[in-house]
Symmetry: C2
Amino acid sequence: MRGITYLLGTVVALSGVVAYMAPATGGADTEAAPIFGVKIPQGYRDWRWISSAHEAGKLNSLGAVLGNDVAFKAFRDGKLPYPDGSIIAALHYRNVPSDENNMVFGEAQSFVPGAPTNIQFMIKDSKKYAATGGWGFGHFADGKPGDAAFMKSCFPCHEKTKATDLVFTHYAP
Amino acid sequence: MRGITYLLGTVVALSGVVAYMAPATGGADTEAAPIFGVKIPQGYRDWRWISSAHEAGKLNSLGAVLGNDVAFKAFRDGKLPYPDGSIIAALHYRNVPSDENNMVFGEAQSFVPGAPTNIQFMIKDSKKYAATGGWGFGHFADGKPGDAAFMKSCFPCHEKTKATDLVFTHYAP
């Protein structure tokens, strides 16, 4: 009886875990981005938060950078280069004023993510993407990948951040 | 033997899970915030991302709102009121220009989280916090809770967002 109780406990614990890990949002069998063949990874919206980012000017963007478990751990531990299997997701939205918040605060101070603009991914696979520093890039707007000309622009820009293994984002503690 | 193998598999699976769930950052046996008795919840830095936020002006803040599993699911599913057990964490940092990014972009456009300023929590417990809409509030700077006068200001402000169960943040898809 004690054995059965233990087993039951285990099954319950495992079920809870499966429910926790099952990705409920993000990703689908989408078209792959040219050059790198990167698709939107299943469940990316459930990944952990690495940092936020605001781009002023033309981009006028507010968003977040999330990482899968491999990437998140490397960020948190400050471990470079990122190990194979790391995937970093940058979720971008219009940077819009929050009328709702500003009414409460009594000042036009509050900006929040508006409509989604695009999602970008970096996937570390040092063999497959050896020619581009070990990283494959993906860019998607409304689920549609960027075209080849756009995708060609990823690596030359990220190559400028060699000291951080081609990654702009730093972990927010 | 088959039984032992199964059991071993289970133990290995559980160990993996424990390793995954073990909070590696965030939380400690900190001092409780006055009035509500809220402490920094263990492992909050590993919670999932609900949205980012930028406060211009005096606050000059950039950060993120994270949720524990209960809160995250309610946000994602648009379920109101938030169920008991929901905990929402707002992580705030100085909004600072990224010289590193701006050099690459060739324009002063990029803002990132700088030094942490404070962390705030909302904990839903409809019985314990019945007098404040079911929410207990916590505010911590450098691990130290806000004083009673500060903590008194939480509820009257959040009460203005009754339509969203006293929560300002919306889920970024």
